[in-house]
């Protein structure tokens, strides 16, 4: 809906932290998906007081749209600085939409080892799922026009905000 204000990303993050705090133990490994998910994972890591350093994933090598659109430019290096084998993991992403990114992320994680469990935290769930994937924790579920995209931004003071961007055509597979 045009004109409807977007929620405040910092407030959503606080809501997410409150939901996660009682359920995330100190041995949990947090893994952020590039790029918004990495920013969120860093903040969650700090505020939840987790000991193990954060991991980061760039799922470009596992995406199912490679055949259609090729390799994404500016691929980042995935970096998991802890043993995945047998560990409870939390994947962190900014926007949960079709679920395809999460599918790719899970496939990549299993190439590092067999985790004890994988849970998912997302700042926003905008619906529109194309795969049977759900998040354990979301900051908020909001409806967004399918012709629009929503992305997380971070300013120099590390403050997070949400922004809409127009799409030239509906991105339906």
């Amino acid at each position: 809906m045009p004109g409807k204000p977007l929620p405040d990303a910092e407030q959503l993050l606080q809501a997410l932290i409150a939901k996660m705090r009682p359920e995330v133990g100190p041995e949990t490994g947090l893994i952020g998906i590039h790029t918004g998910g990495v920013w969120l994972a860093e903040r969650l890591h700090r505020e939840l007081g987790l000991k193990i350093p954060c991991g980061t994933l760039d799922v470009s090598f596992y995406r199912d749209d490679y055949e259609r659109i090729g390799l994404h430019r500016d691929v980042k290096r995935s970096d998991i600085p802890f043993e995945v084998e047998g560990r409870p993991l939390v994947l962190v992403d900014d926007v949960l939409y079709t679920g395809r990114t999460i599918r790719a992320a899970m496939n990549e994680l299993f190439d590092y080892g067999r985790p004890q469990s994988i849970r998912l935290a997302a700042l926003i769930d905008r619906g529109g799922r194309e795969l049977p994937i759900a998040a354990q924790w979301v900051g908020a579920a909001i409806e967004i026009d399918p012709r629009e995209g929503i992305e997380l931004k971070r300013d120099e003071g590390e403050r997070l905000s949400l922004a809409l961007y127009g799409r030239s055509a509906p991105d339906v597979a």
Partner: protein, 319 residues
């Protein structure tokens, strides 16, 4: 025609469709390959060293000239991308070369090839193949005659960037048989495009192309002058198999004047790195004590070659 007529490596969107030479490729494409290779270097450190990008694709290694390192690293790279790899070592009869090459390729294309990796003794052979394949097939030049060896050039750029981080302040010396070297040509093209301010070539007159200076490099005939204060030393293999007639008195003589020894290397910066594309002629262009010394990055070059070839194949197959 789906390719850019002025540069048959690029499609109409300016994306890389074949990799034939580094000449004429924009810096943005070189950086994209180097950045992507950095991400693939991470993959090769994992428990499972494979990603599914090229699952179901068939990569044909077509080697009309012998090679161990290049062919093997292309094979490993393709396998780590989950492609099926078919290796072909082909002997050609010199009379019917052109016809044979295109016939071979047409037959392999009929077997549903998605990508050809081509090594050939004749300069331009990969271009000929690229011109005749169907639009969905990609061709990678793995070394053609004296012309180009783009993935070697790229992996050397990756190696330099890994140790020196940036090209903008670098002084690079390329030593030896520039005339016969497809690697040197790829180096000069890539270093220039990536903004390296000073490229030197050090060689006897008989092993330099007559137009060397027009390539934008500084020419030296004396190792002691040429190596002074350089950051990167790239030794080249003396290519006896490509030499016709007497270009050199002897290998011993070459070593005396142009062999890279510890004593000559001391003239370079103390943190200078030494590269060699292999295979090395120890005691001809490089002394064993340098090849195995603390400044040598020759073995890391080989490892980085896998990540570079993964990057090139995955970018091409996606375009």
């Amino acid at each position: 025609m789906w390719l850019d007529p002025s540069n048959p490596q690029l499609n109409r969107n300016g994306e890389l469709h074949h990799l034939l030479s580094l000449e004429g490729l924009p810096a943005s494409i070189l950086w994209q390959i180097l950045d992507t290779a950095k991400s693939f270097a991470g993959v090769t450190e994992r428990e499972v060293k494979k990603v599914p990008l090229l699952r179901g694709k068939a990569v044909f290694n077509l080697f009309f000239e012998p090679s161990t390192r290049t062919r093997t690293t292309f094979e490993i790279a393709a396998k780590r991308l989950s492609a099926d790899v078919i290796n072909l070592a082909i002997n050609i009869s010199s009379q019917t070369k052109g016809e044979t090459v295109l016939d071979t390729v047409a037959n392999l294309a009929a077997m549903q090839a998605d990508m050809f990796v081509v090594r050939h003794g004749a300069s331009g052979a990969p271009y000929l193949i690229a011109k005749h394949v169907a639009p969905e097939i990609h061709v990678i030049n793995a070394g053609d005659g004296r012309h180009a060896h783009p993935t070697q050039g790229l992996l050397d750029m990756f190696t330099i960037r890994h140790y020196k981080h940036d090209f903008s302040g670098l002084r690079v010396a390329i030593i030896g048989d520039i005339l016969h070297s497809r690697v040197a040509r790829s180096h000069i093209n890539a270093l220039t495009t990536l903004g390296c301010p000073e490229i030197r070539v050090i060689a006897p007159k008989t092993l330099l192309p007559s137009n060397a200076e027009s390539l934008g490099v500084h020419v030296y005939h004396d190792m002691r002058q040429g190596l002074k204060d350089v950051d990167v030393v790239m030794a080249l293999r003396l290519q006896n198999e490509r030499m016709q007639g007497a270009l050199l008195a002897s290998a011993q003589e070459f070593f005396k004047y142009y062999g890279l020894t510890e004593e000559k290397l001391e003239l370079a910066k103390p943190d200078a790195i030494v590269l060699h594309p292999g295979p090395m002629n120890r005691g001809v262009e490089i002394d064993s004590s340098v090849a195995d010394g603390r400044q040598s990055v020759i073995m890391p070059q080989v490892t980085f070659g896998i990540a570079i070839r993964m990057a090139v194949m995955s970018i091409l197959a996606g375009n």
